[in-house]
């Protein structure tokens, strides 16, 4: 498969995972109807990519290729009907979320590099692609975004590692599908280890004690 095909497939898997994650989070934390569940699933899935594309100054991929929206709607619909079985299970939600995060950060960083943005900007845009959808979801659900909270189990750190890996390797001229896969695996493994062993990033010295 070409690099482009690898990236598209990873992107659609990430969208499906994030749609499940977003819809199940909505069911678990707020009193929403089918419109809320579907919207929050779709927004979680496509929000990060939309923010990235708006910042890159291009038409959001989601609005150019119908496969993104249909994949997001499929994930959200599945989550709606299975919410009775799934919504109490926090582990699958966290794993879906880690998968979506990992795939999105490498895709975001790759796209920013391809459009000629600098390494620091591309890394940040990769992280934004990964955390953007969940952040919009949390804002709409009226809670402080997971990625910012003291108990986030690193979240943004593996995202920055994955995006940074892809950017650094690209700067040295190795741009190919396997780089995206390795970057995504790196992000996923660090995120899952952080969840398993409850690692957290340091809190500011001025923070009140937990």
């Amino acid at each position: 498969m070409s690099t482009l095909t690898v990236l598209l497939v990873l992107d659609l898997i990430g969208i499906f995972a994030f749609a499940l994650d977003g819809s199940l989070t909505a069911v678990r934390t707020a009193r929403v109807d089918i419109v809320g569940v579907m919207s929050l699933g779709v927004i979680t899935a496509i929000g990060g990519g939309i923010i990235r594309d708006v910042l890159l100054g291009v038409t959001p991929a989601t609005f150019q290729d119908w496969r993104y929206l249909v994949t997001a709607l499929a994930g959200a619909t599945l989550a709606f009907f299975l919410s009775g079985q799934l919504s109490q299970l926090t582990k699958p939600i966290l794993l879906f979320d880690a998968a979506g995060l990992s795939l999105f950060v490498v895709i975001g960083a790759t796209k920013a590099m391809e459009l000629g943005f600098g390494p620091l900007q591309a890394t940040i845009l990769g992280v934004i692609t990964g955390v953007g959808g969940g952040t919009i979801r949390d804002v709409l659900l009226n809670r402080v975004p997971t990625v910012l909270s003291a108990n986030s189990h690193l979240y943004a750190v593996p995202a920055a590692l994955g995006a940074g890996f892809v950017v650094v390797v690209s700067v040295f001229g190795f741009g190919a599908g396997w780089v995206a896969v390795v970057g995504a695996v790196l992000c996923f493994v660090v995120r899952v280890l952080a969840l398993r062993y409850r690692w957290n990033a340091p809190s500011p010295p001025g923070a009140p004690p937990l």
Copy 2:
């Protein structure tokens, strides 16, 4: 009147209705000053159109034609001075809101079709135009957006019906001012019926009982 004139007039009426709605909602639900009342009125009125235009990749209409901003400011100013009389009346707020919603979804869907976006995307962009301003208003007022909540009395459903009607008719080649008017009336009637008879969209099977 030409189709373009019909759309502009409908757009300005929608902006005026949403500005009244946004400002009165602000007075009723938060401790805001004149800046807050005016800002929330204007944001409710122009927010959906701005999100749509940013996603479409065009300069927001609001910043190109002064009539949009002036109409929004007029609605917000009227709401500020009449808030003592109006803010306890929930019915007019709901009717203003239904009018703004109906007009915006058909305008958004029409604009997206004209710029060459696909039917699914145009329908979603129509709905975003309708619900976007109120969603930003609710986020700024620190509450879960009406459109997502289990007790929203359909809200997004008539929006999708109105936008979908305009899109389907356009696909078959009938694009004219009367299509926009019929789509808006369809959305308005369904929304008002849903409010009157307290229709709600189904909640997810996994949701805790009301």
Copy 3:
């Protein structure tokens, strides 16, 4: 120094001040880790400019020139390590915020005028540049944005004065670095006086008594 250099230097000072402000506000009001402190500092610093540039239809300056991001990260890092000493001091936070606000409104208004937007739009885009970052920060921290609240001590009023001054002077053909400096000083002085003497904008007649 050329007008362009003056504007860049003012912009970077504003970014540094807003990054300190955003990070210290995060430490003081929520349970965030280093990622949260850094993100909220950077977002407060660059958020207003990004909203402005997205609305203007240009690539955000932050993503074109690395100096913006590095300055924002420097301010946020400093705030993180000094948060133990600084976070209880509300006065420096308010002064940093007033400085950032003053610089950003004049820069935003100037940029909008240069890109050919009308006077009303340029004034509003100036105000958005000034208040946008703090508004995103407050939304992410799950509170009603300062700029909208009844106890904001004018906030948006000096912003509109500073932006309006720059716009009106530019309309009469005087566009130069000193205009930006005078506009920023005007905004800063009115804001600090409003804080010192607890001036507030009027509340709507329909608001419940304080």
